[in-house]
């Protein structure tokens, strides 16, 4: 019995391992080929690189305007996520503590709006903001992310604020804190686990988003990483070496973060789904 179970466990383990290798196989291919010359890539994509060189990387690094794209992506993602978290937590807190009809309806409207797909909004969005000249800047994009990201964030925060006893805040108010101080010193710190969840869900979305930035950001200097990857791929379609290196450069930062924050990211996704 013992032995049979052991064999079964091993078979499962090996089967899973094979699945996992197949799963990450595309990334392995990318890694291997990013160090090879164009000719070697097309003639034998499976072989390991003969003479290991960084040339593709330096090439892609320059042509993608990597530094600029990476900086744009970081600024947009960080500012959007920080603002979404703060503003949504404040709004959710206000809604929970002031349960008037108006607030309940507004909250319901936000929840209902989550079902609207971006494609149903993009055309009028571009028309409205194009006509007032508020396109083609990071700030416009960040502002839009707040609009699109707040419904889910308010919804998740709403559920957790309810679990904070109101007495806690009343005590702070009696002790002389203002409403704003109470929120930032008492409520927001208690909400940290929820904030982590919301930050993770939003980083995964905003860092990788393509369609909205492609409509809003027009000038090449404003491009985010997904945009610059896209245009790079469109311009150098046959030059496989630098393309592979370019893709690696796009994936690498996320992989490095994942290596360290893996536990939180998986937990964040779990928490975010239990609504």
């Amino acid at each position: 019995m013992e032995n049979k179970n052991g064999t079964l466990a091993w078979t499962k383990f090996i089967a899973l391992l094979v699945c996992l290798v197949l799963f990450v196989f595309p990334f392995l291919m990318l890694l291997v080929n990013s160090f090879k010359e164009n000719k070697a890539i097309t003639s034998s994509p499976l072989s390991l690189p003969h003479n290991f060189s960084w040339e593709n990387y330096t090439n892609a690094f320059g042509k993608m305007e990597y530094v600029s794209a990476f900086t744009n992506s970081v600024i947009i993602t960080v500012l959007s996520v920080v603002l979404i978290s703060f503003l949504s937590a404040m709004t959710a807190h206000y809604f929970v503590r002031h349960q008037t009809k108006l607030n309940q309806y507004t909250f319901f409207l936000m929840v209902a709006a989550m079902i609207i797909p971006f494609q149903a909004i993009m055309i009028p969005l571009v028309k409205i903001y194009g006509s007032i000249g508020f396109l083609d800047s990071k700030w416009a994009l960040i502002y839009m992310y707040i609009g699109f990201g707040s419904p889910l964030a308010v919804f998740i925060y709403h559920g957790f604020v309810k679990s904070i006893p109101a007495e806690l805040e009343e005590a702070a108010l009696i002790d002389g804190c203002t409403r704003t101080q109470t929120f930032f010193r008492i409520v927001f710190p208690v909400l940290t686990p929820t904030t982590v969840t919301i930050a993770i869900l939003n980083v995964l979305w905003i860092w990788n988003d393509f369609l909205l930035p492609s409509l809003v950001l027009i000038a090449p200097v404003e491009r985010t990483l997904p945009l610059s990857t896209f245009y790079f791929f469109g311009t150098y379609t046959v030059d496989y070496g630098p393309l592979m290196a370019g893709l690696m450069l796009t994936i690498l930062p996320v992989l490095i973060v994942y290596l360290f924050a893996q536990k939180y990211i998986i937990q964040g996704v779990m928490q975010g789904s239990i609504k």
Binding site: A113, F210, T229, S273
Partner: protein, 294 residues
Amino acid sequence: MITEKGLWNRLRLRLLFTGPTLFAFLAVMIIPFLYGIYLTFTNWDGISTTSSLVGFDNYVSVFKDAVFWKSFLLTLKYVFISVALINSVAFLLAYVLTSGLKGQSIFRAGFFIPNLVGGIVLGFVWQFIFSNVLVYVGKELSLPLFSASWLSDPNKAFWTMIIVTVWQYAGYMMVIFVAGLMNVPKDILEAASIDGANLWTTMRKMILPLMVPSFIVCIFLSLQRCFMVYDLNLSLTKGGPFKSTEMVSMHVYEKAFLSRDYGVGQAEAFVLFLLVATITIAQVYFSKKLEVEA
């Protein structure tokens, strides 16, 4: 709760706490959404400052647009197959990875990796796999299945979309299923096994009914994401060969921004919204009825 004194103080508090969020939300989502409905009744071409009301002409054009319905049906087929496969693969992985295997958290982390990367990049990676690596393997091992790039065959190109979609989202849904499976109470499973229930019976009569909430979330998320697929479509197949894999999202984009037919494009987007909303709400409503208490 203690309330603020004075109307001004209350208003200031409200503006401070809800003002910025609600302004962005209304100005970015609600107003464009409503304005979009208005746009469907105009013939705006994207450049001119004026446009005139044309009544239901755009909707008539939508119903006559054979290409739209073709890509719509294609999207339905794609969504149906993808959602079914994503959730089966994800559930199976989650089930195996909650059975107390060694290194199961490493496996979970590994299967999640595709979700860290955007659809654009994933599409390019797989484009290389399908048009170079697999063709090379096909030639070396003389496998006719892989001898020509799948991306140049309309029928196979459709399946590349499915394969990559399932590969991309299975890990995400797996994480949600894992959370659900960990909440299935161990004592009732033990009781069942003492009563002599085999694996299949336990699965059918206990685990699956208890997992209904997880299935609701996963099916909802995968439905929404698959219906709206754009990035992957653009970078993997570009809608080709010969527009054979053009999903509805890409069609709307092209109608509006490339053919400059904004009114019709928006009308199609609106029809799409109505159908997706109906399908997802119906899905949640009907599957809520299957929920049970442990």
